[in-house]
């Protein structure tokens, strides 16, 4: 530890070399992602979490929108990874007390609270909790269930170590009174003498990822929360749905444990409420989670009779895939009522009665047996205190203040923020920001990369060539995800009868840390040399289990998965017997296949330390700078003759920051950066190679070798030149798109001041059949423009014709400001579109005001169309070059909607900006920084792992006919000049198997995926 007085002359020297470690505060998904990004790109990370386990709010969720992924299932692997990461020092039950120093050189005081359980000794057997006589409400289950005084935060907790709640523990309060846990603990892990400890960490930068807490509606008496038993919050409802929750996923209502048949969701509880909740912001996620809960609740409904109603103000499904999710929910019969309810009324049998007014004013009443309050997100007062003590500025809603151009930087240099601590947001956005914060935190420390990290060593691998197969089968219940449909016990017993299987067992959660650890032991103890896990999909969990094999000293390729959840229990819920039979078949197939598996080498590809960034807009430039600032050379390719992209046309951000000033500075920095080579007027012609070693040819003939690529090619503004969304666009000179009006703002068009009436039409070409997504930015943009017009001429009458106002997050304040300034909002529907006509060259707009149900006629001298953001047509070509996929709408599709928002499924290729989905500039910037962070994971290394599952030639059978060379898209197979036989370059081979299917002679095969193995699986499928 360096004391301040020691600094002197030496201090300066030390300042020049920053610390190589980072503090991440908060172990939710954002904190975990930031920690993983940093730890994987050369920094040592201290991850401090207040509770006894990481996972945060996401671990409490049942499912996540819009993919309905099981939250725990997708989160677990990340938590386990963070928990096991060699370069992450996980400090649970710990609090940051203070941070001193400056960027590159912070000293952090951390208080480690006692766990009273020695984590080295605890095997999480649970005997202690069984014996513990003290029951207290479980905070993880929000008090709906109980836990003991010695407890695990949740079943898949990381670290999977029990902890004693000192406030509840009988012994700690009165030593000598209880102490059962100590008596029964088989490993002697209980340590009542554990004391708080204060330690000092030296880090170079800090990331705050402290998350949110759900709004507590107890203060809103009209909700009846706390009095009417069957009124619950959305977070409580997540626990009611969750298989690990208080009713094991059976969805029981609190009053009588009966399954509800009619549930209502009330939106905006604690959000968009300046009166009672004092939260004027929109919590951004509630609309989607309510729809998700409504959809999922139906699946949970055993009676199958569940009806779900959602009462809302504006439906805010503004994210990628959200609108489609909403539409599907509507199709599937979820009732959506555009109405808010004043008071939840009691009805007989503890039911609840909702009285609401239709948009037309008609009063209706409906009875429900459960009401869920869609509560908003707010900052925990404890967190506010910490931020104050860290000198990190909060806004008036107590979120951390950020600026649109530095979206993850706090007011204190060297301290970064991500996730919901800065503004309510969904998981992908939080994950994106986490990577962006990691980029920021790592950026200032890049000189010290790899100076404080350690390297993972696996035990030597056992040679299994000569051994007969000894297969272990692990059958997962996945809570009840599998076990509620498939008879997992029967499957486990059946597995034991299969040839080569010497061990089989059933686990509640095979991916939980304890099962993983136990699996390592089992492999060793039973001398297993092949493993089959029957659980979920290998697409998410294969890597985790493969690493487990390595830890047990087994080559990771001696592994197969049987997908008995996603492709069995979840899709055959009504046929449990058949699903069980199918599960057996799947296990038998996996066992048949694993028998033929052979150990494979772990291949590597050396990394060309250069990034190719495609697109010279804000996203591209920010990614380029973020990488270049870390010392990585970048080739930035822009198809136009100048940098700037879409942002050239923007007047200002919704926070009022002028865009062109920012852009000018950004362009200057890019153009003068020594590490950035800008290629203007060029497009991508040809790409070959793969992660670590790409070679790309540009249209100008320039060739670039690079290790990674970031695609940031932007999008276009939809111009409704004809068709139903035309609204006189291109026909009357006073009809503009948003960007066209921005142009007028940019050039200070005086004529705007003279206007007397302006009308904005929202959703022009968005949320319509041909473009069924929400363009996310237009509501905010249009409202900001309306405000700008009001600035120019306060007397101007302005009307906004909208379908739902989607000013999510803090943007809600400009919506409020707009109303305050007298801007009138009139809602319209697709079946009641505004009609725009011309009378003597003047624009006339007719629209029906649904509240008074009367036709309103407007006479604007400016009509602004908030038109859609549409994907560029040439994105398809580019995506093919990089082997990336696209959504149905034509945006680029990330590897995983929730947890890999800037990665492509193709390794080493990342995306940022509008080509991913419409988004405002602050999100574009954070995504660009996130992409840079992800890219630095590759660039910071000398070599990255390459495909092991590659093609291999049997020269005895090869005729040299060269079909394989012709069908290989990677030029990985060639005919050897000497032998005349095919040879495979394993560095290039991706293991697709096109060559195998093309070969008539069975002379080429894929390792561990040969014809014989596939035949074995197929034949196994047919045995009964």
């Amino acid at each position: 530890m360096i004391r301040p007085e020691d600094k002197g002359l030496k201090g300066k020297e030390q300042m020049s070399r920053p610390k190589g470690s980072v503090l991440v505060v908060g172990g939710g998904i954002a904190g975990v992602q930031a920690a993983l990004d940093l730890a994987d790109s050369g920094f040592y990370v201290h991850l401090v979490e207040r509770s006894s386990a990481i996972g945060g709010s996401m671990s409490q969720l049942d499912k996540t929108f819009p993919t309905n992924d099981c939250s725990a299932c997708i989160l677990s692997p990340k938590l386990v990874e963070a928990g096991r990461h060699l370069n992450i020092n996980l400090m649970t039950l710990s609090q940051v007390l203070g941070v001193e120093g400056e960027p590159g050189n912070f000293r952090v005081r951390v208080r480690k609270n006692p766990r009273y359980v020695d984590p080295e000794k605890c095997i999480a057997c649970g005997t202690c909790a069984q014996k513990c006589p003290k029951k207290v409400p479980s905070e993880f289950d929000l008090g709906l269930g109980t836990r003991k005084a010695i407890y695990l935060r949740y079943p898949q907790a990381v670290p999977l170590k029990y902890a004693i709640d000192a406030d509840a523990c009988i012994y700690i309060k009165k030593p000598g009174r209880c102490g059962f846990c100590q008596k029964v603990c088989p490993t002697g892990a209980i340590n009542f003498e554990d004391r708080p400890e204060e330690i000092t960490l030296e880090v170079g930068s800090v990331i705050l990822a402290l998350g949110f807490r759900p709004f507590d509606p107890s203060g809103l008496d009209f909700t009846g929360y706390g009095t009417l038993k069957n009124v619950v919050t959305s977070m409580e409802f997540e626990r009611l749905l969750s298989p690990s929750g208080p009713c094991m996923g059976h969805m029981e209502r609190p009053s009588d444990k009966k399954e509800p048949e009619k549930i209502a969701w009330l939106q905006c509880v604690g959000s968009r409420d300046v009166n009672r909740a004092c939260h004027g912001y929109c919590s951004s996620v509630c609309c989607m989670y309510a729809i998700k809960q409504a959809v999922i609740a139906r699946e949970h409904s055993e009676s199958g009779r569940l009806s779900s109603s959602i009462f809302f103000m504006d439906m805010r499904t503004h994210g990628k895939g959200f609108e489609a999710y909403y539409e599907r929910a509507k199709r599937e019969g979820i009732d959506f009522h555009r109405a808010r309810v004043h008071t939840i009324l009691p009805a007989p049998n503890e039911n609840l009665r909702l009285r609401y007014s239709g948009e037309d004013g008609e009063i209706k009443e409906e009875e429900f047996d459960l009401v869920v309050l869609s509560v908003g997100l707010e900052t925990d007062p404890e967190v506010m205190k910490l931020c104050h003590s860290l000198d990190v500025e909060l806004d008036h809603d107590n979120f951390v203040s950020t600026s649109p151009f530095t979206p993850v930087a706090t007011s204190r240099p060297g301290i970064f923020v991500c996730g919901t601590l800065a503004e309510p947001k969904d998981i992908p956005q939080s994950v994106m920001e986490a990577s962006a914060a990691a980029c920021g935190a790592g950026s200032i420390l890049h000189e010290s990369r790899w100076t404080e990290t350690r390297k993972k060593e696996f035990p030597p691998e056992k040679n299994v060539y000569a051994e007969p197969p000894r297969i272990g089968v692990f059958v997962c219940s996945c809570g009840i995800n599998i076990a509620s449909v498939v008879d997992v016990e029967e499957v486990t017993q059946y597995a034991r009868t299969l040839p080569g299987v010497v061990f089989a067992q059933n686990n509640l959660f095979t991916c939980s840390q304890d099962t993983i650890n136990q699996m390592v032991e089992t492999i060793k103890k039973e001398g297993l040399n092949r493993v089959v896990v029957a659980s979920c999909t290998p697409r998410t969990h294969e890597a985790l289990f493969q690493e487990t094999l390595r830890e047990a000293g087994i080559n990771k390729f001696l592994f197969e998965m049987a997908n008995i959840r996603d492709q069995d229990s979840w899709v055959h819920q009504k046929w449990p017997d058949a699903a069980t039979r199918k599960a057996k078949d799947l296990v038998r197939m996996a066992v048949a296949k694993v028998r033929g598996d052979e150990p494979l080498p772990y291949n590597h590809v050396s990394v060309t330390k250069r990034a190719l960034v495609i697109g010279g807009g804000v996203a591209g430039m920010v990614s380029a700078l973020s990488l270049a600032d870390q010392g990585f050379p970048v080739c930035l390719v822009e198809r136009k003759d100048s940098l700037g992209g879409h942002a050239r046309k923007f007047y200002r951000t919704w926070q009022g920051r002028p865009m062109q000033d920012y852009l000018e500075e950004l362009v200057r920095r890019v153009e003068t950066h020594p590490e950035i080579d800008v290629q203007l007027g060029a497009t991508i012609e040809h790409v070959e190679g793969s992660v670590g070693q790409f070679r790309t040819r540009l249209s100008n003939g320039f060739e670039v070798e690079h290790g990674v690529a970031i695609v940031a090619v932007g999008a276009e503004s939809f111009k409704p030149r004809s068709g139903p969304w035309n609204y006189l666009y291109g026909k009357n000179p006073n009809v503009h798109t948003l960007l066209e009006l921005d142009q007028r703002f940019i050039r200070d068009d005086e004529a705007l001041k003279g206007l007397s009436q302006a009308v904005f039409i929202h959703c022009v070409g968005s949320r319509v059949p041909e473009r069924p997504y929400c363009s996310r930015v237009c509501c905010t943009h249009a409202i900001d423009q309306a405000l700008k017009l009001k600035e120019l001429n306060p007397e101007m009458d302005i009307f906004m014709l909208y379908r739902d106002i989607r000013t999510y997050g803090k943007r809600e304040y400009i919506y409020q400001e707009a109303r305050e300034k007298g801007i009138v909002f009139i809602r319209y529907d697709l079946d009641n579109l505004p009609r725009v006509n011309e009378q003597d060259g003047n624009i006339v707009v007719d629209v029906i005001d649904p509240i008074i149900d009367r036709e309103v006629r407007l006479h604007p001298d400016l009509l602004v169309l908030a038109s859609a953001v549409r994907p560029r047509d040439d994105v398809g070509e580019l995506s093919k070059l990089f082997k990336c996929t696209m959504t149905e709408e034509g945006f680029l599709l990330e590897a995983h909607m929730k947890l890999r928002p800037v990665d492509f499924a193709t390794d080493g290729v990342y995306l940022a900006g509008l080509c991913h989905y419409p988004k405002p500039v602050e999100e574009t910037i954070s995504q660009a920084q996130a992409a840079a962070s992800r890219a630095s994971l590759v660039l910071s290394r000398d070599a990255v792992p390459a495909e092991s599952v590659t093609a291999v030639v049997n020269v005895m059978k090869c005729t040299g006919c060269a079909v394989c060379t012709q069908v290989c898209a990677y030029h990985a197979v060639t005919i050897d000049k000497n032998s005349g036989k095919a040879v495979v370059d394993t560095g290039l081979c991706k293991g697709c198997g096109a060559c195998v299917a093309g070969c008539r002679s069975d002379a080429i095969t894929i390792k561990n995926l040969g014809n014989e193995q596939i035949m074995a699986a197929v034949e196994a499928a047919m045995e009964e």
């Binding site: 008496d221 009209f222 009846g224 008071t343 009324l345 009691p346």
Partner: protein
């Protein structure tokens, strides 16, 4: 009306030396202090009581505190178990429909239509007695009870308080 004076003093910034209190708060205070001794044993039949929370006194006046006082007094007077609360209640209770001058303004049909909500709410409590600590509420609730065929008795609190009074060495 409580609010008329309370808000009048505040809004027009009228100078005054006194403290403006509600008789309900006073009852509660006196009972708590033991200055008023009450006994609910008179209520052998177990008459069920509920109450109206006058808007002017509760929501617009002193808030949930006075509404809680009201319940405290009724429970003391009629027996804890004989109080049936309504929903919504306290500061969130419905207006009876007679307020705001509605009783004076005419529009009887409208007033009763408004009062239907109050009627249904009170009727659903099954109470035998509805305590109305405000004359407007009293008149309106009497009227809707009669008009919609309610079976309860609409009264002021003082009648029952008087009934429950324990008079020291008076007898």
């Amino acid at each position: 009306m409580f609010y008329a004076t309370l808000e009048g003093l505040r809004r027009f910034n009228i100078p005054h030396k006194f403290e403006f209190i509600s008789v309900i708060s006073l009852y509660a205070q006196l009972i708590r202090e033991g200055r008023l001794k009450v006994d609910s044993s008179w209520n052998r039949e177990g008459l069920k009581f509920t109450c109206q929370d006058p808007c002017k006194l509760v929501r617009q006046g002193l808030g949930d505190v006075v509404a809680d006082d009201l319940r405290f007094v009724i429970k003391a007077v009629a027996g804890e178990e004989n109080f049936v609360d309504s929903w919504p209640r306290l500061s969130n209770n419905y207006c009876c429909g007679g307020g705001g001058g509605a009783l004076q303004a005419g529009f009887v049909e409208n007033r009763r239509r408004y009062g239907r909500v109050k009627f249904d709410q009170l009727a659903s409590t099954g109470a035998d007695v509805v305590i109305t600590p405000c004359h407007n509420c009293h008149t309106q609730i009497l009227d809707i009870c009669d008009f919609y065929g309610g079976k309860w008795k609409t009264t002021h609190l003082w009648n029952w308080l008087e009934k429950a009074l324990v008079l020291d060495d008076k007898a």
